[in-house]
């Protein structure tokens, strides 16, 4: 594979090539002109091109342009938000062009179609491609947070290059079953979007209510994400080149104590652990050991008495990332095209990665995206489109997982050296590992993946049959291939003893001579969709209707039956006088996971919109310039049983699981989960009311209120059926969850002279409650899940006083089922007064693990070529248990943070943490109110400053625009976790997971 290092050279070459095309002089008479809008304001950045020629310019901020063209040619004027204008050149050399704003309001993407603002009857939110490109992240899912209402984007892993996909939920989690993820479609085909290049995306839409998702039938209830890629347009080619270079740096890393402090605290921990020893015994056993004497760690003998900062030694402060993309977009009346090439290279933070000749063990995620889209008008009635997208990815990593490496950095105390005096790798009987070994001496892995996503569409006008009728079709063909190859190596560590001898742990080997390969997998997916469309206006009546059939089939290597989907769906929309819109949508689709007869379901939804501002009594009201009320109600389904489970309606018997007799393992076979031939989908009755307000033509307010009632939840009856049945109980439809919430979106645009600004904000609130779950009678009231949120946190309640003062208090308290206690251990409330602290005493604590509130605020402005944009995002009502080494330090001889050490029992007069221990303690580290933290945060998600070079400078080089920008991602977070140097969103990042990173990025975009 070509490495990205060579990339800049190639790009510079292509630049020269492009320049040479566009600097090629054209000596036609220049046509000059000025572009204004209806009210006479100049319109800048309008693309002006000569039809069927290569000439193209764009207007400056005063609306002026100058283009070489001969009379008789046609000029095209295009700008987003305005209607495209054609102008045939006569003999005039000075022309005035008036562009009309797109009279119909913005056009929204909906399922298999578009809607205008007046006729939209469903709850959706859209994210513009422009906003996505402001986020210098390589994984697209990370760029959408805070931009769309109703969206929850939650990271549960660190920012390891190539593995930083977030979890996405729409309107929260609405089922306690396993399948809660939304359906994601790219160009109307179910595909993953996370590794698309932001450049290739035209629109990003979130479908939220039943009216929006009904056409997906039993796959729609968790919400749908629609990603649409760019297409060509009629006009001169626009060539866009963007190059970016950024640095990633860890946001927060735990701060552990130095070795002198560590030894002090460790001695306290040991004293706790060996509290049965007398002081003199303890002293002779432990304190006499020079390793336990803090005074020795004064730097005089760094190999025996070191002070190692593991993070500083093994994580670089920054790691580079580079992004390039080049796109060509344009076309003629007959054919339009869009071609995009993108390349990303993102390196990891590890140090000591170049210790071996011939290979590096640095994390290196490289990705090459491409897309070519061609739409051809074969005849005046037939249009065919081919959209081919693909990408090649490689994740090059050390042959030890990031989790293991980071955990080692987090756990190793500063009293362990990296290298011994004889420069061998250090370790001990307790720490039989060494991050140097993990990074440099375990070999490396390459995880290759290749994706091809092809979509061919046709659209045939059938006006011959009846005016407004057309037929359309889609054929999708996706292929994916995965392959991992690796070379393995192992290393030994040596403990330097006091007598300068060494004890060896583990074995050193040299790296494998040959590659090993694994995880080879292959997927092939075929999608067919065909249908009829009808769209016609009769006076003030407008009718749009769709009827489609789809089926898809994905083959995967190995013993996997094809994954299939099938359905028919449609929609009819009637609009009267742009005031009243009524819509009916339906789907009749099925899931392979249900038995014939329980397989297909009918899902209808009705919705309507009333544009009050088009009524006489509000028409032309200057203050209230837009007012719309809409509502929807419908039934959608969820057939998602959860990953890895298929065909639960049929008997599950497997081969394997034999036993060892004689000298060999026998054949085996066994029963899996019991079948339920009557299993069917989860059903959701979704209602949504929306209010859209436009004030002073400058402020838009959208409010949505929803209530979704999920029933027939796919679960099993293990709560109530006796275990002596002896097998995993069948899935059944039982249980219900009510989800309710609201979303508010505010948009404000204004322009004062040369200064224009935008404020956009959204707040989403989604709360759910289990209204019924199959549970036994007779439990303690706090044990019931019914009545609680799906993702509610449960744990023990810490009793007043928090920690046991002395043995007498322990003896007088309920016994812990989590080990033998001693003073300084956590004291829990015995909720049921049965004298034992155990899982029966778990109570709901804090908030759910998925935030109930998500919000985002964008502030943007432009002034004379400068632009500035900042996005704040935040979440609220989320609680997490802290269960990592930052809080649990010293346990198992791990490192400890000063914060926890100083506030521990026996050290602080008002302790917040239990006694220190070097052992593993089960009692103190149960999920409990002691460890539950509110992890709300508000952060600067992205910030961008850009500058467009003045047109005057550019026109000579025939460059349309040049923009320089600097932007950042995840810049500052305001939250309660900063005092612990932990990420509020991913408290385990940097402790057991790859760190969370901040990205600072500079770039330039050139348009020709």
């Amino acid at each position: 594979m070509m490495t990205i290092k060579k990339k800049p050279g190639i790009i510079i070459l292509s630049l020269f090539f492009l320049f040479s095309i566009f600097t090629y002089a054209q000596d036609n008479n220049p046509i000059k002109g000025r572009i204004t809008d209806k009210s006479g304001n100049p319109v800048g950045n309008v693309v002006v091109s000569v039809l069927d020629e290569f000439t193209q310019v764009s207007s400056d901020i005063s609306g002026d342009f100058s283009i070489s063209a001969v009379p008789g040619k046609v000029l095209l004027f295009s700008k987003v938000g305005f209607q495209q204008l054609r102008y045939e050149i006569k003999d005039k050399t000075e022309i005035n062009i008036q562009l009309e704003k797109q009279t119909r309001e913005e056009v929204y993407q909906v399922a298999y179609g578009t809607r205008t603002k007046s006729t939209l009857t469903s709850a959706i939110s859209t994210i513009s491609a422009d906003d996505l490109s402001k986020s210098p992240v390589t994984t697209l899912g990370n760029a959408i947070q805070g931009l769309g209402s109703g969206l929850t984007v939650l990271h549960s892993v660190g920012a390891e290059p190539g593995w930083d996909q977030p979890d996405i939920y729409i309107r929260g989690v609405q089922s306690f079953g396993s399948g809660v993820a939304p359906l994601v479609l790219v160009d109307n085909v179910e595909r993953d979007f996370s590794q698309l290049d932001p450049e290739e995306i035209e629109s990003f839409t979130i479908l939220k209510d039943a009216a929006a998702t009904v056409m997906y039938g039993m796959r729609g209830a968790n919400g749908v994400i629609l990603v649409t890629t760019k297409k060509g347009f009629v006009g001169k080619p626009v060539i866009t080149l963007t190059a970016q270079y950024g640095t990633q740096s860890p946001t927060r890393l735990p701060q552990y104590v130095g070795s002198q402090d560590y030894v002090n605290y460790r001695n306290i921990a040991l004293r706790n652990d060996y509290n049965k020893l007398s002081d003199s015994e303890f002293s002779s056993l432990f304190l006499s050991n020079p390793q336990n004497n803090p005074a020795n760690y004064n730097g005089s003998n760094p190999s025996l008495y070191p002070n190692t900062n593991w993070y500083n030694s093994f994580l670089n402060p920054t790691a580079p990332q580079q992004t390039y993309n080049l796109s060509f977009r344009g076309g003629t009346e007959v054919a339009q095209y869009y071609v995009m090439l993108g390349a990303v290279d993102q390196k990891g933070l590890y140090n000591y990665t170049d210790e071996n000749s011939g290979y590096s063990t640095q994390n290196d995620f490289s990705r090459y995206n491409f897309r070519s889209v061609v739409d051809v008008n074969v005849s005046k009635d037939l249009k065919i489109g081919v959209n081919l997208g693909g990408r090649v990815e490689n994740r090059h990593v050390p042959n030890t997982s990031a989790g293991s490496i980071i955990s080692a950095l987090s756990k190793l105390p500063s009293t362990v050296p990296i290298f011994n005096a004889d420069s061998s790798l250090a370790g001990s009987s307790i720490y039989k590992y060494n991050p140097y070994g993990m990074i440099a001496k375990t070999g490396f892995q390459d995880q290759y993946s290749f994706y091809l996503q092809g979509t061919t569409t046709f659209d045939l006008k059938l006006d011959v049959i009846t005016k407004g009728l057309s037929a359309n079709g889609l054929f999708g063909y996706d292929a994916a291939k995965f392959y991992t190859r690796y070379k393995n190596q192992s290393y030994a560590v040596y403990q330097q003893n006091q007598d300068n001898t060494y004890t060896q742990f583990g074995q050193s080997t040299s790296i494998d001579l040959n590659y090993g390969g694994s995880n080879s997998a292959f997927n092939l997916m075929l999608n067919y969709m065909c249908g009829l469309s009808y769209d016609r206006t009769f006076g003030v009546n407008h009718i749009a209707a769709d009827l489609k059939y789809m089926q898809s089939s994905m083959s995967s290597d190995g013993d996997n039956p094809d994954y299939r989907n099938q359905g028919t769906f449609g929609r009819t929309t009637y609009t009267y006088d742009n005031r009243y819109t009524a819509e009916f949508g339906f789907a009749y689709n099925g899931s392979e996971d249900f038995a014939s007869g329980k397989r297909f379901g009918f899902f209808p939804a009705i919705s309507g919109a009333w544009v009050l501002s088009n009524e006489d009594f509000l028409k032309n009201n200057e203050t209230l310039n837009f007012l719309k009320l809409r509502g929807s109600y419908g039934k959608v389904g969820n057939s998602n049983i959860g990953a890895g489970t298929r065909f639960p309606f049929e008997d599950k018997f497997y081969s394997g699981g034999g036993y060892y007799f004689g000298t060999a393992t026998t054949d085996g076979s066994y029963e899996g989960r019991i079948a339920n031939p009557n299993l069917t989908w989860e059903e959701s009755l979704d209602g949504n009311i929306g209010l859209e307000i436009g004030l002073l033509k400058k402020l838009e307010i959208d409010i949505d209120v929803f209530s979704n009632n999920r029933t027939q939840i796919i679960t099993d009856l293990s709560n109530t059926l006796p275990t002596l049945i002896g097998q995993d109980l069948p899935y059944v439809n039982d249980g219900s969850v009510l989800s309710q919430g609201f979303e508010i979106v505010l948009k404000h645009n204004n322009k004062i002279g040369d200064f224009s600004y935008t404020i956009q904000g959204n707040v989403s609130f989604a709360k759910n409650k289990i209204t019924y779950e199959d549970e036994v009678a007779g439990m303690n009231p706090w044990e019931y899940r019914t009545g609680q949120a799906v993702m509610q946190q449960w744990g023990l309640q810490v009793a007043p006083g928090k920690f046991f003062k002395d043995q007498a208090e322990i003896d007088g308290w309920a016994k812990s089922s989590y080990g033998t206690l001693q003073p300084g251990d956590v004291k829990y409330v015995d909720q049921n007064h049965d004298g034992i602290i155990n899982s029966e005493d778990y109570v709901p604590l804090g908030n759910p693990s998925i935030p109930e509130i998500n919000y985002g605020l964008t502030l943007g402005c432009e002034y004379k070529g400068f632009d500035f944009n900042v996005l704040f995002t935040g979440i609220a009502n989320r609680s997490l248990f802290m269960n990592n080494n930052v809080f649990w330090g010293m346990q198992d001889n791990n490192n400890i943070t000063a914060q926890v050490a100083q506030n521990s029992w026996g050290i602080s007069t008002n302790p917040s943490y239990p006694r220190l221990t070097t052992e593993l303690n089960t009692n103190n580290y149960q999920p409990s109110s002691l460890w539950l933290k509110n992890v709300d945060y508000l952060r600067i998600q992205t910030l961008e400053i850009g500058y467009n070079l003045p047109k005057k400078i550019l026109s000579k080089a025939n460059i349309n625009s040049v923009r320089f920008f600097i932007n950042g991602y995840n810049l500052i977070s305001f939250d309660g976790m900063s005092q612990y140097n932990l990420s509020a969103e991913i408290p385990n990042a940097g402790v057991t997971l790859y760190p969370e990173t901040r990205v600072i990025n500079i770039g330039t975009t050139l348009k020709f």
Partner: protein
């Protein structure tokens, strides 16, 4: 005309779309060519998978090495202390077990095994799939021998069903005997079973053992069958079953016929001459040796060493035998009466002279200065448990808490730094247990005359194998007394079967637990004095608490609530409600 045609096309297209869905309504049927799962019919009609279904049932047997994160049940009685203070096994010692929290809860696992047995047995019925498809043939020829394959499989299923129920019985007492496959959708069937009185469950298990013994052979034609139960295995389970049933916990009126039943069941095994005592050194490392009656599958492992090697050998050192157990071992090559002859408390392990403890001591205990004989790599094979020694008290968090490590089961040729492994199996039943069962039952039933000789003879076999002198006249004179003999047998079981999950249950069935397990267990602290000699000091290593309700495990609370919610009767064991 034109209009009509247009309409027709339109109608045709709309109908076509709908029709496609209809006609393709089987499109979502599972692709029959590719299978990840098999049907019930396929499993039981396949010549490999049908017998494979039975073989898989063995995987439900509980492994004594690894049920409690590396700790063993021995650490829940007076045999050992688990050095990991946070190990789930400690719940037993803290009296912190209840119907929600029980690390040895086997309710679910055993009934899973039982379901498999019942499903398999159902298909062996005359109208079952196995019978109809002959997937397990009635007879086969192996070499020159004709074997009754189908019966052998039937016998194994019956034996396993008995085995699983016995595992439940000894834990919960009050159990459901399940002898059919329960359909979760049939509520009547789900709740059709009732808890049987203890003795009735004993009869049910015994019947299954008898049937199993009838179907299984006395031996198999070749080594590929090694490890499978034979008819004697099922009968040996009866020996234990009846012994438990005759014991004070379950035989409050001391009904002597129950003891007689246990005597007979054990005698059958002894008379079979099927089993013999293996040499002491290789009982647990030599697979399928003649002493083993029934064992878990042999797997290539070093987890036993990883958990239990002394800490300087890269083990965790989890199982620490108590001084109480250590003291029970007498001196070597002596008679019973003389078992502590020449014992020197200042040199308890006989380091300074040849007066060493009996042979079983070193095959059970790693003590200070004991040697890991075969450990190939390490230059230092001497265990050092004195305070300050590399394996000593407090040297690491999981270093010994008693001054001892467990050497039983350990294969000392394993070097953890090299990751070497060896085949080992957890032994459920071995012949010396049968001899001890026999001696105990006969002593309780009638210890006079010829019976006394029979008891002495049985016990002498074990003494002989342990390199102890046979009982002399003085021993016999003492042991003529039934209670003296009882003390001897209890002690002998403790030593011979240490760490093999016997004492935990023995203390319960003897009703000794409430006394024995309510006192602290001892450890031995060894220090070095100024002149370089070891100084031995006893100390309380851990506490033990035993509440009488612990004689039976609680039936899981969730199960109790399920029955009560459904309006059905279920009885919880005393003290747990």
């Amino acid at each position: 005309m034109m209009e009509n045609m247009k309409k027709n096309i339109l109608i045709f297209m709309i109908l076509g779309t709908v029709f496609m869905t209809q006609s393709c309504s089987d499109y979502l049927n599972k692709d029959a060519d590719v299978n990840t799962t098999l049907s019930y019919q396929q499993i039981f009609s396949d010549v490999h998978l049908a017998p494979g279904f039975l073989d898989n049932i063995y995987t439900n047997m509980p492994d004594g090495f690894s049920r409690f994160n590396g700790a063993m049940l021995a650490a829940a009685c007076d045999e050992a202390v688990c050095s990991d203070a946070g190990s789930p096994i400690q719940l037993f010692n803290n009296n912190a077990i209840n119907s929600t929290t029980n690390p040895d809860d086997q309710w679910s696992n055993m009934y899973r095994g039982i379901r498999k047995c019942n499903m398999f047995l159902k298909e062996l019925e005359p109208d079952g799939i196995i019978t109809k498809t002959n997937s397990i043939p009635v007879v086969e020829t192996v070499g020159t021998q004709v074997v009754n394959t189908r019966n052998y499989y039937k016998g194994q299923a019956l034996f396993l069903r008995a085995f699983f129920h016995f595992e439940l019985l000894k834990r919960y007492g009050n159990i459901f005997y399940v002898s059919k496959v329960i359909d979760p959708f049939n509520e009547e069937e789900v709740y059709s079973g009732t808890q049987l009185p203890y003795d009735q469950t004993v009869d049910s298990i015994s019947n299954d053992c008898d049937s199993a013994a009838k179907y299984m052979p006395a031996s198999y034609p070749d080594v590929s069958y090694d490890g499978r139960p034979i008819s004697w295995t099922a009968l040996a389970l009866k020996s234990r079953l009846f012994l438990y049933a005759a014991s004070p916990l379950n035989n409050t009126s001391n009904d002597l016929t129950k003891w007689k039943r246990a005597v007979d069941a054990s005698k059958v095994i002894m008379d079979s001459k099927k089993y013999s005592l293996n040499t002491l050194s290789s009982i647990f490392t030599s697979l399928y040796n003649p002493e083993i009656i029934f064992a878990d599958k042999a797997i290539n492992r070093n987890d036993i060493e990883t958990y239990n090697y002394p800490v300087s050998y890269q083990g965790l050192g989890l199982m620490n035998p108590t001084e109480d157990l250590v003291e029970a071992f007498g001196m070597g090559a002596v008679t019973y009466i003389n078992r502590y002859l020449n014992y020197n408390p200042a040199d308890p392990y006989g380091l300074k002279n040849t007066k060493k403890r009996e042979d079983r001591f070193r095959y059970t205990i790693f003590y200070n200065t004991s040697r890991l004989v075969n450990l190939s790599n390490s230059k230092d094979t001497i265990v050092a448990t004195y305070v300050g020694g590399k394996d000593g008290l407090f040297s690491t968090p999981t270093a010994t808490k008693t001054g001892y490590y467990m050497s039983k089961f350990i294969n000392t040729s394993i070097d953890l730094s090299k990751g070497t492994t060896s085949y080992r199996a957890w032994i459920y039943m071995r012949y010396s247990e049968i001899l001890l069962n026999y001696a105990e039952a006969l002593n309780e039933y009638d210890n006079t005359g010829a019976n006394f000789t029979a008891i002495i003879n049985a016990l002498n076999l074990i003494r002989n194998r342990a390199n102890l002198k046979p009982f002399d006249a003085a021993d016999k004179a003492l042991l003529q007394d039934q209670s003296q003999m009882r003390i001897y047998i209890k002690r002998e079981r403790r030593l011979e079967l240490a760490f093999e999950e016997h004492r935990f249950w023995d203390l319960r069935r003897w009703k000794d637990a409430e006394t024995v397990l309510n006192q602290p267990v001892q450890g031995m602290k060894i220090t070095i004095d100024d002149s370089g000699n070891y100084v031995y000091t006893l100390f309380n290593a851990d506490t033990r608490v035993f509440d009488v309700k612990m004689y039976w495990y609680p039936i899981p609370r969730t199960e109790i609530l399920k029955y009560r919610s459904a309006g059905k009767t279920i009885v919880q064991n005393p003290g747990w409600d």
